[in-house]
Amino acid sequence: MTTSDLRLAARDLACIRGGRLVFEGLSFEVGAGHALVLTGPNGAGKSSLLRQIAGLLEVEQGEVALTGGDPECGIAEQSHYVGHLDGLKPMMSVIETLRFWRAFLGAGDAASPDAALQAMALAPLADLPVAYLSAGQKRRLSLARLAVAPRPLWLLDEPSVALDAASVARLRDFMAAHLAGGGIIVAATHLDLGLQGAAELRLTREMAS
């Protein structure tokens, strides 16, 4: 899926939201098969940083680059992003949702929607409308989306929210498999996600001042 010289690098990054400097002078590097865990208090800019990497938020200063991937595509197109909003449509069924994202994102050699449901233990719910799902089931469905289209970089914002212990274990295996395949994960979390050998980047509110 990816070459081993895949590398995500940020240099001297700054973020201003609503006139407030959230962070500045942020630099890090993550290589293929490695994870970076973002920690820190609320408002420290974990979500903003993830959105900046995903190209969903403007980078005011500094730069982010993903090297060693597909030179034709930008970071956004090589990333999966899981944010606070699940991006699910209540009236679409579980399997329809995954089929849509597979068709939209371009499947490549990724898992089939059915296999992705299996991995997230959602297979028995495949034909149910999303409206009937619980919060945890919805979260698992938005994680299953990551399996139906190959993306070397995963940007996860609190991926374990609303998940029970069994589901967190499934998420851990899921992420470990991605790293073993040479992918990169940047995750913001309060919980220990149990990622082997993950580097930690601690954002503090004082960084700005």
């Binding site: 149910l128 619980s134 089931q137």
Partner: protein, 250 residues
């Protein structure tokens, strides 16, 4: 999310008896409906005289008048069921109200369309903004609005409450339609059957008209029963699927 005992009663208990009963009723009802409609159509098309003024086009009346009658009956059924649903919270009432709407709307549309077809040779125009036709058109919009409201709210219990209020508010329109003929009497045919001084319609036309009206009414209630059964089954499917979403957690 689990159902309370009361909700379970509402979801299953009473409708179960209704399903058993309606299952037995359906076949004889269909037979009676087809028989009456068949006889009515035979009289209307082959065994009744053409009108001395309107000629053969008068036969449109045998569809038009019963349709218009059912347009109003449908709304009355809907409003009555809505009132029962609001006041007594009977679990079948909102099913009955919801199921009546599309059938009533279809008959309303039929009344408007046949009226339009009748109007062309009679008045030389497809549509005339006279009071009765206008109020039937408004009735059609009331039906559409009611159905749109049901279609917008996913949870049947919540949708039922809102729709019932709407149906009752709209019920004010029914008497307006009924008596608008007396209030304004423009180009449209004067009401011939329900006039104060007794019917002026030829007896040879009264029989087919009566048969068609009876046949249409039977058809309405048969279809209503079919739709109510379908709606109950749809809700069962929904409950089962919701329950499955719960089990999926295990």
């Amino acid at each position: 999310m689990s159902l309370t005992a009361a909700q379970k009663f509402h979801a299953y208990a009473n409708p179960a008896r209704f399903m058993a009963l309606s299952d037995r009723l359906l076949a004889p009802l269909w037979a009676l409906t087809l028989l009456t409609l068949g006889a009515g159509l035979w009289f209307a098309l082959f065994n009744s005289p053409p009108d001395y003024q309107q000629g053969e086009t008068v036969r449109i009346m045998y569809v038009h008048v019963p349709s218009a009658w059912l347009a109003m009956l449908g709304y009355s059924v809907m409003a009555l069921a809505s009132a029962v649903a609001l006041i007594f919270r009977h679990p079948l009432a909102d099913v009955a109200a919801k199921s009546a709407a599309p059938i009533g709307a279809a008959f309303t549309f039929l009344a408007l369309a046949t009226g339009s077809l009748w109007g062309k040779p009679m008045w030389g125009t497809w549509w005339e903004w006279d009071a009765r036709m206008t109020s039937v058109l408004v009735l059609f919009f009331l039906y559409l609005g009611y159905m749109a409201l049901w279609a917008t709210i996913e949870d049947p219990l919540r949708a039922a409450r809102a729709a019932a209020v709407l149906a009752l508010a709209g019920a004010i329109n029914i008497p307006v339609i009924r008596y608008s003929v007396v209030w304004w009497n423009t180009l449209h045919q004067p009401a011939s059957v329900f006039r104060m001084d007794g019917p002026t319609i030829a007896p040879a036309m009264l029989l087919p008209l009566g048969l068609m009206a009876a046949g249409f009414t039977l058809l309405f209630f048969t279809l209503h029963l079919v739709r109510m059964r379908a709606e109950i089954m749809r809700r069962r499917v929904r409950n089962l699927r919701l329950a499955r979403a719960d089990e999926g957690e295990a």
